[in-house]
Amino acid sequence: MLTLKRFFLTAATATFAVFGLLSAPLAQAQLRIEISGVGSTQIPIAIANFADEAQAPEQISAIIKADLTRSGYFKVIDTGSVMPENTSVNYSDWKARGAVAVVVGSVQRLADGRIDVRYRLFDTVKAAQLSGLSLAMPPDRARLLAHNLADDIYEKLTGAPGVFSTRIAYVTKSGREYRLDIADADGYNAIPARRSREPIISPSWSPDGRKVAYVTFEHQKPMIYVQDLPTGTSTQVANFKGNNSAPAWSPDGSRLAIALSLSGNTQIYMVNANGGSAQRLTNSSGIDTEPRFSPDGQFIYFTSDRSGGPQIYRMSVNGGPAQRVTFRGDYNISPRISPDGKTLAYISRRDNQFQLYTLDLAGAQELRMTDTAKDESPSFAANGRYVMYATSAGGHGTLGVVSIDGSVKYQLTTQAGDDIREPTWGPIMK
């Protein structure tokens, strides 16, 4: 963030400027969220302010409320009061106020400096406690702590794991700089993992959530690197002659399926996650690209124009004959498979509009997910309930999220009016 010109300020202002930079709110770097659609049914849930919330640097109950609201499946009722974790909840009272669930909690600071939060979740209809947790984390992880509680509430009431604690990676284009940014799923704590004067595309989270594979044009041609996020170490994984792109992790994190133009036209190959020789998987005379593993690791879905225009196909993970999966429209690309292996998300061009679609792989039922015209790069949430994608709004690249039934919708935009694109939604990390 510091640039050389800062150091050439006059002595009088230099110190002030340095302090200004030190207090520059890096931790607040975030994406703005705009909700434009909610679930067709919503669970009304009363969430109290937690006791002694000021003990934590972030308001825990506020983060929980924002998470559950954003999920689209909850109607948050503000209790307007503080309810500590040992509150005796009057079920019929809350039921009369329309709440199906009630959340209470208390915050305290431990002797070692950590924030300790105890919370309980009650079901007013069953008149019973559904969950209770005690979590302690360093104060700089207060938001993560709150997200963990929101995940617990989401799971107890919907049956699906929550993804509030997950992270997203995406590419930001800001002026002449490209950044691979990592942020919390709610858009907070955005930190650049890589900054470059040349484009970055196709970031992809490793299954363990520790690394991101990506394509960089830093050396005048596309090459594949894997960056270890905690250390910043970047390892070159593929630099064969021609293009190297479209990295996709195997479910066990040991291999990457990639696209190479080594043979003259773009084809799909396999390499070890730390590089080495590439094993060819496809053998068509057209373009085969955008490989994606099925969650069980048995198949690879990919884009191919072997039939004349780009369509989505599936082949064994060892290569061999491929079966066509998409048949509607003449342009279907960017296949992504849901974590349960049952749904395909992809981009289809119809009437010159590029839109996000989902396909039920068993029944071939297709659903258009958006009303925008320049959708790209879909990515499933780890619980399979949402798809994040890149789109364009107000002349800028933005990210959108839609639930797989199409009802919940929200957008993520940068404050600065930069372009953000190429999202990849990270795994649930234990």
Partner: protein, 172 residues
């Protein structure tokens, strides 16, 4: 050198031991004919020889000034109007075997990044194939693509799109 000094010694000792008597001198040993190695003429170290750098034809030949080939929408073959450009570069590279070129293909902004990367590659590959047919070695060329990621023209109209459907020859 050793032979000569041995001979000299032998000659010298013969003469010494001969004393005053007339001694039949041995036949002069045959001296091997060695090529005459003339010492190089001493260099005038203060002299300055002027060298005129010859301009690389790449920078002077107008036929090589054009480094881009443009393509129609969804097309990956080289149009007739660009064949002379490709031929000129093919001839140059054929004559200069130590010269390498990176051929960078591009697409307009419409469509997905990865699929467009592959389409741009088709444009670079079309140029590469033409050069190859003209005798340029594989080791002299690499065909790559930027897809839609590095547009030269940033408008959202046909004029900009046409400018971006392009393969560039970038000499290394």
């Amino acid at each position: 050198m050793r032979k000569i000094s041995a001979l000299s010694l032998a000659l010298a000792s013969t003469v010494l031991f001969a004393g005053c008597h007339t001694t039949k001198l041995e036949e002069k040993p045959k001296v091997e004919e060695k090529p005459v190695v003339s010492e190089p003429a001493p260099v005038d170290t203060r002299k300055v020889e002027t060298v005129v750098a010859q301009p690389d034809e790449l920078n002077t030949n107008p036929a090589l000034a054009k480094r881009s080939v443009y393509f129609d929408f969804d097309k990956y073959d080289i149009k007739d109007e660009y064949k002379p450009t490709v031929e000129a570069h093919g001839k140059y590279l054929g004559n200069k075997k130590d010269r390498k070129v990176l051929i960078q293909g591009n697409t307009d902004e419409r469509g997905g990044s990865e699929y467009n990367l592959a389409l741009g590659q088709k444009r670079a590959e079309a140029v590469r194939k033409s050069l190859s047919v003209m005798g340029v070695a594989d080791s002299q060329m690499e065909a790559v693509s930027f897809g839609k990621e590095k547009p030269k023209a940033t408008g959202h109209d046909e004029a900009s799109w046409a400018e971006n459907r392009r393969a560039d020859l970038v000499y290394q």
